[in-house]
Amino acid sequence: MKKSKFDLAVGLFVATGILALVFLAMKVGNLTGLETSEGYRVEARFDNIGGLKVRAPVKSAGVVVGRVDSITLDSQTYEAKAILRIDQNYKFSKDTIASILTSGLLGEQYVSLEAGGDSVYLGQGDRISKTQPAMIMEKLISQFLFNKASESTGTTK
């Protein structure tokens, strides 16, 4: 086969293009992160999930240990059912507490796991029974106002 003068330039072009893609995947994206590793799924039910989103991080002591896989509403109990996918390198005891917290003042919401002392670990399909719902700003404010109002009526009487 005859060698053409374009071969080298085109080969270089394709190679740099693929290198750029690798750069984007490794350095800009998070291909090397948790996304690729398999994990086990546990279920957590919350009264209110606030602004929690699918793919939000699951953290323990600030370290990302998994992601929120799906969020659905249980039509029987009207609780939000969140499936958390946790990296299999991390084990949590049965009595772990899951709570929804906010990173920073305006940051995104995440699920925080606080490990308990049980010697039995959570496995695939298990359910975290102790949960703490997200704080809803409006509820906090209305609670605060309600308390204030009841306080002031208390003093006038």
Binding site: K2, F6, V10, F13, T16, G17, K27, G29, E35
Partner: protein
Amino acid sequence: MSNVIEMIEGLGRTVLNGLARLGLAGRFFLAIMMVIGVPVRRFSLLVRELYFSGVRSLLIIVVSGMFVGMVLAIQGYEVLQRFGSSETLGVLVALSLVRELGPVVTALLFAGRAGSAVTAEIGLMQATDQIAAMDMMAVNPIARIISPRFLASVVSMPLLACLFSTAGVFGAYLVGVKLIGIDDGSFWSQMQAGVDFRLDIINGLIKSLVFGVAVGLIAVFEGYYAPPTAEGVSSATTRTVVTSSLAVLMLDFVLTVWMFRGLNG
């Protein structure tokens, strides 16, 4: 009264002509797809077109990508520092580049740089009866001339878009970290935390692949069906740039709605 009727007739003619042209383009696309194996088998044909479309567009893509990234960094910093979150500049720049600007600006530049050249080349071949001569020699011009150019556009577009985004991220790094002085570590770590491979990078690649098909098809179509005159070739070249720019922007809207809507739901 007859004036009004003429106007309505003209309107109808324009719409019908446009529709017929769309149908012709669809048939042309099918004809290309039938022989798309030819440039794969005769690889040197594809390599030649990759050189003229892809390699020769490299400089303009990389330089513009870098400047777009630099401008994004400056403008993004101006806004973000008001909220005291200038560290998130990396996410802002990377997401806008990978999701939108990379594929779209690359496609627009590619249409202007390579698409117009392809149209002019094929149009001139048509005008000088080279394509008819090829047909006479029982060489399928669609397999020999059109499909390598089309495939080259489809192949080089995602590669160029990746290079554009990479150059843009590098430009933003230069301005953001080296010039403005955002912390190096948080620039990259925020970027890695905010950009998802499957969701952002792969979707950006799919976008640029679609744009490659659109720009490539429009360029070869306009060239192949250009009126065989000097004026016809020149207006076909203009139409390539205008139509493919519009097509890219409209397709981008459709694809963005499809890919990124309801993402945060």
